[in-house]
């Protein structure tokens, strides 16, 4: 998967980011940290402005990691017919 470098850098920086930037969105490209932004929309706009269609990371600085749960999808029941 792409974003490996970016995710590794984010994990390394997370303890420091949590001190002063909790709730904001970090923008990372390769091994470069570009800053934090008030919204994911602003971080994404800055990423596109600098890197166009290249891969970059926009991640929320948060104690708790986001987990996606959708029971019906994960159990294969979205279009089951009994």
């Amino acid at each position: 998967m792409a974003l490996e470098k970016e995710l590794a850098l984010f994990a390394k920086m997370k303890p420091d980011l949590l001190k002063n930037h909790e709730g904001k969105f970090a923008l990372i490209h390769g091994e470069e940290f570009l800053g934090t932004y008030d919204s994911a929309e602003n971080a994404y706009a800055e990423g596109v402005k600098r890197f166009g269609r290249e891969a970059f990371l926009v991640k929320k600085v948060s104690q708790q990691e986001e987990v996606y749960r959708n029971q019906a999808l994960s159990l294969g029941l979205m279009h089951a017919r009994l």
């Binding site: 998967m1 974003l3 929309e41 596109v48 991640k59 996606y68 749960r69 019906a72 979205m78």
Partner: protein, 155 residues
Amino acid sequence: MPVFNFFHWSEKLGRTLNETGPLVSVEIAIPTALKQHLSEKGIAIPPAVSGFALVDTGAFATAVDESVFVSLGVSHIDEITTDTAHGPATSKVFPANVTFPGMNVTDMPMERVVGSKLKWKTRDEKEIIMLMGRDLLQYFLLVYNGPSSDVTLCY
């Protein structure tokens, strides 16, 4: 608050709400920032992908079939853990603009949509490309009328 009714019926199958679940037509487009970037560079803007969204009160976040983002040429911006029947997995997160033509909702920005393998066709040939989760439903009033096979959404 405008009210929109969606009667679920087909000539071949009759009432379809019970079988298909609540569906609304949807168009997924590239995010505004990318659209502006491509325009400035003189690059053609990929057309929006059309299909249907299944209203899914069981999903906390909206998910879109990953093939849609491949068509649009939109890269993912994050990865998150997904709970599946086989244990935790990783899913990509994408930005998108969402339009619901039947409800006059145009180019709604969504910065964090979960990419998933969810595309399928109903027996009345409606291709589902999105699961409309509670991150979107928090802005809607929803009435599911099973006996009359219709769904009402107010935005």
